[in-house]
């Protein structure tokens, strides 16, 4: 089976995000970079399929030079090879541009199934997976918590508001991974050593022959809107505090 997993290098979720004073973006100094947590689920599922059906797992990532480290992490987990799309021309790229690049790279290799994270925890945009599927003219199943491959089709569980759907799709197909899909493995020390020798193909925009036309731009980055300070409710005993809270929720906030 030819399995592809897309990964993105993002700031660790504990990172203190500092907005640059001119609003042009965030300050990247001192950031700890990690694999997007949702992509980890995708890599793990790719590896599980390889263990079950044989074949290989190719990691594809678009990012600056430092993103190579994240590709190596996926290789250390057990993936076989990587494609690193790297080019300053991709700075500030929107989802359509990123997806175009990823899809172009994926088109050049055999692919039966593609895993992406449901969204990247930096921009929280959640568009790239679907757009890659559109470029490749294949179906998508998003926010998936279970994958079963049966012959030439795939069955997935996808939670929606108030229910879970069992969906069948033909292959090839693109799957976006949601938390609960699996428990990603840690890279073992032998895995890390082996990963250093696994091939990573580096491609720039020219190598992909794509033109870059960014349509959605972040005109300004801002700190989060300030919330007016709240009030701590005091009282003689829990009953009094609870009474006052109930009163405020009714009379002041008017939410009950």
């Amino acid at each position: 089976m030819n399995i592809v997993a897309c990964v993105k290098q993002v700031p660790d979720t504990e990172t203190l995000i500092k907005v640059k004073p001119d609003g042009s973006g965030i300050d990247e100094v001192g950031i700890k970079w990690v694999m997007n947590p949702y992509d980890e689920f995708g890599v793990e599922e790719a590896l599980k399929l390889k263990e079950k059906f044989g074949g290989d797992v190719t990691i594809v990532s678009l990012g600056p030079a430092r993103a190579l480290e994240t590709i190596r992490t996926a290789l250390a987990m057990g993936a076989d090879k990587g494609i690193h799309i790297s080019d300053p021309a991709f700075d500030g790229a929107d989802a359509y541009t990123v997806a175009n690049a990823l899809a172009t790279a994926i088109k050049s290799i055999p692919h039966d199934i593609i895993f992406c994270g449901q969204r990247a925890i930096d921009d929280d945009s959640g568009q790239v997976g679907a757009i890659v599927a559109e470029f490749l003219n294949i179906p998508q199943v998003t926010l998936v918590t279970k994958v079963d491959i049966e012959g030439a089709s795939i069955k997935v569980i996808r939670p929606i508001e108030g229910a879970q759907l069992l969906i069948e799709s033909s292959l090839p197909c693109l799957v976006t991974a949601q938390k609960g899909l699996n428990e990603p493995r840690y890279a073992s020390l032998p895995g890390i050593m082996k990963a250093k020798k696994k091939p990573v193909d580096v491609k720039d925009a020219a190598a992909l022959s794509i033109s870059i036309d960014v349509k959605a731009k972040i005109a300004k980055t801002l700190p989060p809107p300030a919330r007016p300070p709240g009030k701590i409710i005091c009282g003689e005993d829990p009953a009094e505090k609870a009474r006052e809270l109930a009163r405020l929720l009714r009379e002041e906030a008017k939410v009950i």
């Binding site: 990172t15 926010l143 980055t221 009030k231 009714r250």
Partner: protein, 325 residues
């Protein structure tokens, strides 16, 4: 020349989901600023009867495709139908809900329409004739103002943030041919497994009562459930509680759980880590009950009680019961 502020309405089992009215009202507001019309796309099967309802929220034209291949929702069918119509009619703005379905459909449409989109927006407005969308990034640690240079300018709106404002229009209902080829539909819904009957989903709840690590164990959630019953809330949980196996994954609120935006969020025994705040930060009112005075959640709460939740929560249940009696 792209013209018209459009929405893709969301219906399930023949009834509109609330986000559809929030979308319509927002589109109406934007259209009034631009001097343009509001169009709505409605897809499904057997839904002709509900088309006119969108006029109550300011829609001028409802484009409806009523076809068995459009029910239940599949990306292939809905994306093909919407893209086909949008390419023909050329609206300047296209809004969808950042619901589960809306996120799936809108992202595919970005690909089909070769355009740009701001996901999960908390505000949209017109600046210099263009759509300016405000959206949280980095789990809400900062926000971005997004502008799209291509048409339609797309945005998905976070549910429960934008008001549904009543209007009274009688919309023109226009049937269109979605142009579907069954051979092009590659996915199929085999089964719908509904969650516990009668419970409002967290992402649609007006009030949420959530328990975290301070709950100390699964058996203690009964006090949260009692408060939720009395106040009319859905029960949520923090990641700590879900990882400990006390509550199911689907109850998790936070960066790796659900993003909710209720009118009232009551956090019990939740410290308020940034990852949790990412999931409930746009709640209209936040209440924190925690015995740790230094818990970060107090910085975000509108009302806080520094005390033992096992004493406060049952008292709150009593008091709310009295008030609502």
């Amino acid at each position: 020349m792209a013209k018209g502020v459009w929405i893709v309405a969301e219906q399930r089992y023949g009834a509109y989901r609330k986000i559809s009215f929030e979308l319509a009202s927002t589109a109406r507001k934007l259209a009034d600023q631009l001097g343009e019309e509001v169009g709505a796309v409605l897809l499904g099967s057997g839904i002709e009867g509900i088309a006119g309802e969108l006029g109550k929220y300011g829609v001028d034209k409802v484009y409806i495709a009523d076809n068995a291949l459009l029910e239940p929702y599949t990306t292939d069918a809905h994306a093909a139908a919407v893209a086909r119509l949008v390419k023909e009619k050329d609206p300047s703005i296209l809004l969808l809900g950042a619901s589960v379905q809306g996120k799936d459909l809108s992202a595919r449409l970005v690909g089909k329409l070769a355009t740009g989109m701001a996901t999960d927006c908390v505000d949209v407005k017109i600046v210099d004739g263009k759509l300016l969308a405000l959206r949280p990034m980095y789990a809400g640690k900062c926000y971005g103002e997004v502008v799209t240079s291509s048409f339609p300018q797309m945005a998905s709106l976070r549910p429960n943030v934008f008001p549904a404002v009543e209007n009274s229009k009688t919309p023109e209902v226009i049937k269109f041919d979605p142009g579907l080829d069954p051979g092009q539909l590659k996915t199929k819904v085999l089964e719908v497994q509904k969650d516990t009957a009668g419970k409002v989903d967290l992402t649609e709840a007006n009030i949420i009562v959530s328990g975290g690590r301070g709950m100390k164990g699964p058996e203690n959630y009964v006090i949260i459930e009692e408060l939720a019953d009395v106040i009319g809330a859905t029960v949520g949980a923090s990641r700590a509680a879900v990882d400990a196996g006390w509550r199911p994954q689907k109850d998790q609120v936070g960066q790796t759980g659900k993003v909710v935006s209720p009118n009232l969020y009551i956090a019990c025994g939740i410290s308020g880590a940034i990852q949790h705040l990412a999931g409930m930060g746009t709640s209209k009112y936040i209440v924190a009950i925690n015995k740790d005075p230094d818990a970060p959640i107090f910085a975000r709460a509108d009302y806080g009680i520094v005390d033992d939740l096992f004493k406060i929560v049952p008292e709150l249940t009593k008091e709310v019961k009295k008030l609502l009696a």
